[in-house]
């Protein structure tokens, strides 16, 4: 089961989907595009503690994390 994790005020919201299911995959891709359009950055885990940013939907990513855009504090 793949997961899209979206950071928010509750800690995070998780969306689980079966990457082998076409309909679920399409919905996940749509969510990805929507979040990126809203200004979120997406990252996927590439190893233990290793992360890479992704600019387009990766159907093979087990976990994709979305965080809001940055501002100076």
């Amino acid at each position: 089961m793949a997961t899209q994790i979206v950071m928010d005020g509750t800690g995070d919201t998780r969306h689980y989907f079966d990457a082998n299911e076409q309909k679920a995959l399409a919905k996940a891709e749509e969510r990805f595009k929507q979040l990126i359009g809203d200004g979120f950055t997406a990252a996927k885990r590439t190893g233990a503690g290793q992360v890479s940013r992704i600019g387009s939907f990766d159907a093979t990513a087990e976990e994709t994390l979305f965080f809001p855009r940055l501002v100076g504090g």
Partner: protein, 136 residues
């Protein structure tokens, strides 16, 4: 009789307020805990050990190769380090009201994958606390 009624109403009101406050506190505590769980699951084993022991962890900027220390917190919690310790603070945070674990994870990922984006928005500040220096 009226006195008894009034006491009963006041007691009920107090109970309601306490219940509402307790719900708010537990919701916040659980958001905080969720954020920390998420952070810990995305740290390297070295960063996790460091964080468990000291409530901060170090990352290496992907562009400059410089060391940063991310402390537990939601603002003014990132310091650029050299072998003598922190040189300057860099404040950059995700927009919105995120819990500490989420803010720290965002800072880690950004420094490790897109350091220049962090530096482009970061505000500098003077580190006010003293932290252990990096090993030479």
């Amino acid at each position: 009789m009226f006195w008894l009624d009034r006491n009963w109403v006041e007691a009920r009101a107090r109970q309601k307020i306490l219940r509402a406050l307790s719900e708010i506190f537990s919701r916040e505590a659980s958001s905080e805990a969720r954020g920390l769980r998420l952070l810990k699951s995305w740290l390297t084993s070295e960063q996790l050990a460091q964080f468990e022991a000291k409530r901060y962890f170090d990352v290496i900027g992907c562009y400059t190769g410089r060391h940063y220390r991310i402390h537990y917190g939601t603002a003014n919690n990132v310091h650029l380090l050299d072998t003598d310790g922190p040189i300057v603070g860099r404040c950059f945070v995700p927009v919105g009201h995120l819990v500490a674990g989420d803010v720290m994870l965002t800072q880690k990922i950004t420094l490790e994958t897109n350091e220049l984006a962090a530096l482009a928005v970061a505000q500098s500040f003077l580190p006010q606390q003293s932290f252990p220096a990096l090993p030479a």
